[in-house]
Symmetry: C2
Subunit: 124 residues, 2 copies
């Protein structure tokens, strides 16, 4: 068992202009190290945003862990999103995420990544 931190104190601001007022704390090793799936915690300060851009070559899940904001996909229609809600983006799908009050979101991307889909048998 190895311990490590993904707290605010180890988060950093990646190079590039896709993030504005957002820090990143990775959980997993990156694709460049051969990882099939990459996951990191993104923390939005109030007013922070992921600027509109296409997802990479792989599908993504954005799961809001805390706070609230707005998210849009290919259609460009911003919808409110809050703690406990997630979106699944196709590979290459244009998207944007913003937060007036700040939020924390887990972003996973990877080969064959798909969102959980409850089976009819699971219905209450």
């Amino acid at each position: 068992m190895e311990r490590f931190s993904f707290g605010s104190e180890v988060a950093f601001v990646p190079r590039g202009d896709l993030l504005d007022g957002v820090t990143v704390a990775p959980l997993t090793s990156p694709f460049e190290a051969g990882a099939p799936t990459q996951a990191a915690i993104f923390r939005f300060a109030p007013g922070g945003r992921i600027v509109r851009h296409p997802a990479g070559d792989l599908p993504q899940i954005l799961a809001v862990l805390d706070g609230s904001g707005e998210v849009s996909g290919e259609a460009g229609v911003a919808a409110a999103i809050t703690t406990g809600e997630a979106v699944y983006l196709r590979a290459g799908e244009e998207h944007e995420m913003t937060s007036r009050d700040g939020l924390t979101v887990l972003i996973m991307e990877g080969e064959s990544l798909d969102r959980f889909r409850p089976s009819p048998a699971d219905a209450p």
Copy 2:
């Protein structure tokens, strides 16, 4: 873009006796559906625990998103763990997680999964 929920209201109690006072809300499709990596949110009620057992055939990351508790690996020595802290477990490694006051933990497992390891160049 597809929206979905991983909130408490969609969480369930899996069959089996590995969890006690813990619900699961999956984020990704499961291994059985061909996913290379599986991720879910585990919510511990006060006194909840993942009973001591070996990890599966793949390495795992347990990342505490909220709350606090204790975790032990192969050595069996329980160590306090809190929000923003994570552990990386080798495939098959014995482990246990408990929480007196309740906690929320993201558990990921997958082929070639490794924890993030900051490079010396990233040091402040």
